[in-house]
């Protein structure tokens, strides 16, 4: 009888690992030495594949670009030896993480699956984390989501995927959550989990090309939110010395184009200004003004910082800011 080769999945820990809210040893990975007891509690994953855990960050710390770049570098180091990656991530920031990782990896030949437990350990609760009210099912559901993630990590997928409840989403597409930070995710659904993992055929398959990791971000960006009545000149004056300005407003049409052109001139032609105002259409722009659209404000900002890190001219920034069609970066 033909046997299938045993696969190896790399598990990276950045919070989101709680399998019970009782706070006993081995139920949350808060430091590197918690990995082994946690893996013993989740030994069901070993039925599917061999697993290897690496600690990146605690769920009670602020997780952002330095941690995601660390994730990318860790994946790069282990890439040749593994079949897939599961990033166990604090659920509150999982959407931004999915975006950042989607931007960094090109020609993925192995899936990167993000998943987070909706449950919180007592320490995570004390740190002010919220968990996720949209997911139900308690301990069984938390364990099930990790098993689902390992199964997807050994499947024929070549992109960053997020598992949330019974759905799999494209990491690059996770959209604004209408119910606030703890509600359901929306975005391009790649598949569903019912009695098994069922893809709808839209997923990008494993690439046979050489992997490229473009992990440089430039976070020296001033983020300005314009609300009607505030002094935009004053807000933008704070941007002096920044490598870019990210200007958004929750009110469509609140900022008129002549005002933006004047600001662009004030800052100088070498400082790109990204406008994120869903619902507004800008027909004429100054050379350094880049209207942008993206699934969320955070996702667009991340793309801007990545474009600044990767490009060196206004033409390149503009090209890199374009939202891709169909999933590839």
């Amino acid at each position: 009888m033909a046997t299938l080769p045993r696969k190896l999945v790399l598990l990276l820990f950045l919070g989101g690992s709680t399998i019970s809210e009782r706070g006993r040893a081995g139920e949350t990975v808060a430091k590197a030495k918690d990995i082994d007891p946690w893996m013993r509690q989740m030994s069901e994953m070993d039925i599917i594949a061999d697993t290897k855990g690496v600690f990146i960050s605690s769920g009670t710390s602020t997780i952002g670009l330095p941690e995601w770049v660390n994730v990318a570098e860790t994946i790069r180091q282990h890439y040749a030896d593994i079949d897939g990656v599961v990033v166990i991530h604090q659920i509150e920031t999982i959407r931004a993480a999915a975006m950042a990782l989607s931007l960094m990896f090109h020609h993925l030949g192995k899936p990167i699956v993000l998943v987070g437990s909706p449950l919180l350990s007592p320490a995570e609760r004390a740190a002010g984390l919220t968990g996720n009210r949209a997911l139900t099912g308690g301990e069984a559901a938390a364990k099930a989501s990790f098993i689902n993630a390992v199964q997807v990590a050994v499947s024929d997928v070549g992109e960053v995927v997020v598992i949330f409840g019974s759905h799999m989403y494209r990491g690059l597409s996770l959209a604004r959550d209408p119910e606030g930070p703890t509600g359901k995710l929306t975005g391009v659904i790649l598949g569903k989990i019912d009695f098994g993992i069922r893809f709808f055929g839209q997923q990008i398959r494993r690439s046979s090309q050489q992997l490229r990791v473009r992990s440089k971000f430039d976070s020296k960006v001033t983020v300005v939110e314009y609300l009607p009545g505030t002094d935009l000149n004053h807000l933008v004056s704070m941007a002096r010395g920044a490598h870019g300005v990210f200007l958004s407003s929750p009110e469509p049409g609140a900022i008129a184009m002549p005002m933006i052109t004047r600001l662009a001139a004030t800052l100088g032609s070498k400082i790109p200004i990204v406008l994120y105002m869903p619902g507004s259409k800008f027909l004429a722009t100054a050379a350094n003004v880049i209207p942008a659209s993206g699934p969320t404000r955070t996702a667009t900002l991340l793309r801007f910082m990545w474009a600044l890190g990767q490009g060196s001219s206004m033409v390149e920034y503009r090209k890199l800011m374009r939202q891709p069609k169909g999933g590839s970066v």
Partner: protein
């Protein structure tokens, strides 16, 4: 009770016959049977369907038990087994005698919890394995599906009593009555004697 039966897609006639035997045995009892081996994969009660629609929880988590035919190497079989262990679901893992399923190359049978039953079967004995599994979980016994329609007029008082006995339970009034009658039959010595006599004369 909801059961999911998984059999990897196969062209092997012997396995197809085994799948059919499993399904035939399951269909002899009062169960909702979902299986990947039929075109209509999902067969669940309206209650479970509503729960699945309203929550973002995979339907497999609403199953009470799993049966897996794991003779051939198949990644889905391992996936289901992992879920069964994590969710503590009674599971019957079947395979043809004479082979070692791939999942047990990496996992000792002794490591599996007691609610996972692993059974190696001979060609025609798979139905026996399924019957004993069903009997072992929550005392489920193989029962005939009630197919004969019988209209019974009852009084308001009986109706009130049936409501009293079944409200806030998952049991229908008809099920309650059927169970009472079955108990009467089981306790009725005259009836049992008559049955024995009939069996010996036939």
């Amino acid at each position: 009770m909801h059961i999911y039966f998984y059999g990897p897609t196969t062209n092997r006639k012997d396995l197809q016959l085994a799948y059919q035997a499993v399904k035939d045995t399951l269909h002899q009892s009062d169960l909702w049977v979902s299986t990947n081996t039929e075109d209509k994969q999902v067969q669940v009660s309206a209650e479970v369907m509503a729960e699945v629609r309203d929550s973002d929880v995979p339907i497999m988590e609403r199953m009470d038990a799993f049966i897996i035919e794991g003779t051939t190497s198949d990644p889905e079989a391992g996936f289901l087994l992992a879920h069964a262990v994590a969710a503590k679901k009674p599971t019957l893992y079947l395979y043809q005698r004479g082979i070692v399923p791939q999942v047990f190359n990496h996992l000792s049978r002794k490591e599996l919890p007691k609610f996972i039953q692993v059974v190696a079967y001979h060609d025609q004995r798979v139905d026996q394995a399924v019957k004993s599994f069903l009997q072992s979980i929550e005392g489920v016994t193989i029962r005939q599906v009630p197919r004969l329609k019988f209209t019974l007029r009852i009084t308001d008082a009986i109706e009130e009593y049936l409501h009293f006995k079944t409200h806030n339970t998952k049991k229908a009034k008809a099920d309650y009555l059927r169970e009472k009658i079955e108990k009467l039959m089981a306790d009725d010595e005259d009836w049992q004697g008559f049955q024995r006599k009939r069996r010996s004369s036939s």
